[in-house]
Each structure stands twice: as structure tokens, then as C-alpha cells.
């Protein structure tokens, strides 16, 4: 029964991967990766349940946050073509 849920998640992941390879614009790909991340979280949680190991939930939690940060980073990169162009004042660079 739970295997059916896992199967559904896997099928959806395949659909997301399809969109990420095909997506004509970059935003399609970002969307697909974001959805894939959430699906991974669900898959890990379901799998943790199936194998009676609650430690996997820590992993799922971490990945939720990392997925968010990654999507924001990519969106910012695409929107502004940079990740944080400095705006002056600091002459010593970053060292």
C-alpha cells in the first residue's frame, strides 16, 4: 500500500525530470528542480516510514530548507545575472 504512494512519487519525479530536460525556458527548469526537491522530501519521508527509521526525517527537513535556498539563489541569478554584485566602498576585496 505504501509502495503505491512511493510509486506515485517516482512517476511524478520522472515527469518533473522530463520537464527539466525539455523545458524551453529556464524558468521551466527551475520549477522542475524545485518540484523534484519537494518530491525527494516526500520520497525520503515515505521511505523512512517504510523502513521504520525515523532518522530520515532530519534529512527531509534539511532538504526542504536547502531546496528553498537553492531555488531562491537560482531565481536571483536568472533575474539579475549576478549573485550579489558589490556596490562599492570596500577596496580590500574579500580577503
Amino acid at each position: 500500500m505504501m509502495a503505491a504512494v512511493a510509486l506515485a512519487v517516482l512517476v511524478t519525479m520522472a515527469l518533473a525530470v522530463f520537464r527539466s530536460i525539455k523545458g524551453p525556458t529556464v524558468y521551466d527548469r527551475i520549477l522542475a528542480v524545485n518540484a523534484f526537491g519537494t518530491l525527494t522530501v516526500v520520497l525520503i519521508s515515505v521511505y523512512g516510514f517504510l523502513s521504520e527509521r525515523p532518522e530520515f526525517l532530519d534529512l527531509a527537513l534539511v532538504y526542504t530548507l536547502i531546496n528553498f535556498i537553492g531555488t531562491i539563489a537560482v531565481s536571483k541569478y536568472v533575474e539579475f545575472s549576478h549573485m550579489g554584485r558589490p556596490s562599492g566602498g570596500d577596496e580590500l576585496g574579500d580577503i
Binding site: R29, A32, V33, F56, V62, V78, H82
Partner: protein, 320 residues
């Protein structure tokens, strides 16, 4: 695993580097799921945090500095190269056929050190998470080497691209136009990030200390901690973020972590044992081990977090 094959193929073939970066993110995710299925939670943890998150962000930083299309070098598609690669692949696969099946109890790897660690870890160290006990205590010297590697990588990045070129003195103040260019005026993102960042940092601390009992430990905690700061830098101005965590602090923590780890090792032989022997650190050996592992993991966490933060900021501050 079919996923990984398809994605790997697509990564090699696509010319658009941005799509490639996205696909490597998905690739790392499928690797993490694979590790989960293989019951290696700590590895999956690190793979998800580093491979799918930080690596994608850093690769994007690189893309921002270079072009986003791969320059097609038409080398003619040498047939001999393909043949050689296929032949090597076949030889490798043939080599693995001789390996004992996965999980085979008679395999050599399960006979010498591994059962010793698994059996003795309970008595000698007394931590539920054997991965941590192996990583930080039994193989502590290797882990010290790993921390040094991360430290060196961060220093390498700082040395190579940390300083602007001569003559590029940026003396103009931030233009008003720049202000609207940043994500500063994006209320939704700002509010949500302000809510999330404390949780992320708290979670990093939880992973750091809980690594003794569940999956986690210094490496993962350092990455998550850095991710919190990276989120802040992404949403708000990078200069604002830099004032929050100035370069001197990251440099300090970068070195401090390694110093702490090596210091625990030195304390080991000052107190009468060997280098990195934790048993002599406290009254009885087991608490000594606990204390040693605690301090050592803290050192790892500090260095990893500082390294990730400095590498990200170094990448992001470059001009085109």
C-alpha cells in the same frame, strides 16, 4: 538508478550550461535518495546539503562570472576515444563482478576492522551513532586531514579570487537604481526569510550536537549553518550581509576550527596519551571520548561553516 543514467547523459550532452547546473542538482538529489535506500543516512545528509544545495549555488556563482553557453570545440568526435572509454568501462564492470554481493557477510570488508568498530564502539565510546564514533574517534586522524583539506580549499579560493585587480577601486556609492535592483523591496521573500533563518541556524546547531545520536555531525551542521547566511545574503544585499558577518570573523573561525581539532589532539599527548587519544581528556575514558568527540565535531562545524561562507561571498562579490 535509471534516473541517474538519463540525467548523466543529458548533463553531458546539453550545451546550455545553466540547464546543466540544474540537472546536476537533480543528479545529486537522486544520489542522495540512493544513499537513503542503501541505508547510509549520514552520507545522504551530506550529499543532499552539499551536492544539491551549496554546489548548485556555487556553480551558479561561477556561471555569473563566465558565459552561460559551452563553447563547442569540434574535435571531430574521435572514435578511438569512445572505444577506449567503453573498453575501460567494460573492464571495470568485469572487475566488479568478482566483488562479493552487497551485504554478503563473508566479504572481506566485514571481517577485520569493521566488526571491531561495530562491537567495541558501544563499550569504548558509548554513542548510538557509530558513524560519528568511527569518524571522530577511531578515524579521527583522517577526519583531521579532511578538515585541513576544507581549510586549504577555502584559503585557495580566497587567495586566487579574493582580491580585486589593481586599478579597480570601487569608490562610487551605491546608486539608488541599485537599490531597486536588489531583492530588498520584495516583501514576501524578506518576511519569509526572516522567519526561516533563525530556524535554519537553530537546526544547524541541533544537527551539530545531535550527531552523536542521529545522523548529523560537524560537516552537515557547518553546511546548514552556512546555508542560513547564504540565504540572508541572497535576499538582502550582499554588502549588508558582509557587514553582518565580516571577513575577519570568517577568517577567524576558519582557522579556529582547525586549531580546535588539532588542539584536542595535542591535549591528548600533553595529558599523557597519544595524539588524538580522547580517553585521557577526562576522568574516565568514556567521558573522555565524549568530550573529545564533542570538541572535535565543533571544530569541524566551525571550519566547514566558515569555509562555505567565505567561498560563497568570494564568488558573489566578483564583478563581471
Amino acid at each position: 538508478m535509471g534516473f541517474m543514467a538519463v540525467i548523466g547523459f543529458a548533463v553531458a550532452r546539453l550545451r546550455n550550461l545553466f540547464a546543466v547546473v540544474m540537472l546536476t542538482g537533480i543528479f545529486s538529489l537522486t544520489a542522495a535518495v540512493l544513499y537513503v535506500i542503501l541505508d547510509a543516512v549520514d552520507v545522504a545528509f551530506t550529499e543532499a546539503a552539499v551536492g544539491a544545495g551549496i554546489s548548485t549555488v556555487l556553480m551558479l556563482g561561477t556561471l555569473a562570472l563566465t558565459s552561460s553557453e559551452e563553447r563547442v570545440e569540434s574535435s571531430g568526435g574521435s572514435k578511438w576515444a569512445l572505444l577506449l572509454v567503453v573498453a575501460t568501462g567494460c573492464v571495470l564492470v568485469y572487475g566488479t563482478l568478482d566483488m562479493p554481493p552487497f551485504g554478503d557477510p563473508t566479504a572481506a570488508i566485514h571481517h577485520h576492522v569493521a566488526p571491531y568498530y561495530l562491537e567495541k564502539s558501544g563499550q569504548e565510546i558509548g554513542l548510538p551513532n557509530v558513524v560519528t564514533s568511527v569518524l571522530a574517534s577511531y578515524r579521527g586522524y583522517d577526519t583531521l586531514g579532511e578538515v585541513f583539506v576544507i581549510f586549504t580549499a577555502a584559503i585557495g579560493v580566497l587567495l586566487i579570487i579574493g582580491r580585486p585587480k589593481f586599478g579597480r577601486r570601487r569608490t562610487h556609492r551605491m546608486l539608488v537604481g541599485e537599490l531597486s535592483n536588489s531583492m530588498r523591496n520584495n516583501v514576501i521573500l524578506r518576511v519569509v526569510s526572516k522567519l526561516l533563518i533563525p530556524f535554519i541556524l537553530l537546526f544547524a546547531l541541533y544537527v551539530q550536537w545531535h550527531g552523536d545520536f542521529g545522523p548529523g555531525g560537524g560537516f552537515q551542521a557547518g553546511v546548514i549553518f552556512a546555508a542560513g547566511f547564504i540565504l540572508y545574503a541572497l535576499i538582502f544585499d550582499i554588502d549588508t550581509a558582509r557587514t553582518m558577518i565580516p571577513a575577519s570573523i570568517t577568517r577567524l573561525f576558519l582557522a579556529l576550527g582547525v586549531l580546535l581539532y588539532a588542539g584536542v589532539g595535542v591535549a591528548g599527548f600533553v595529558l599523557g596519551g597519544n595524539f588524538l587519544e580522547y580517553s585521557v581528556l577526562a576522568a574516565d575514558p568514556v567521558s573522555g571520548q565524549h568530550l573529545g568527540i564533542l570538541l572535535v565535531e565543533l571544530g569541524v562545524g566551525m571550519t566547514v561553516a566558515a569555509a562555505m561562507i567565505s567561498i560563497f561571498f568570494t564568488f558573489a562579490r566578483q564583478e563581471h
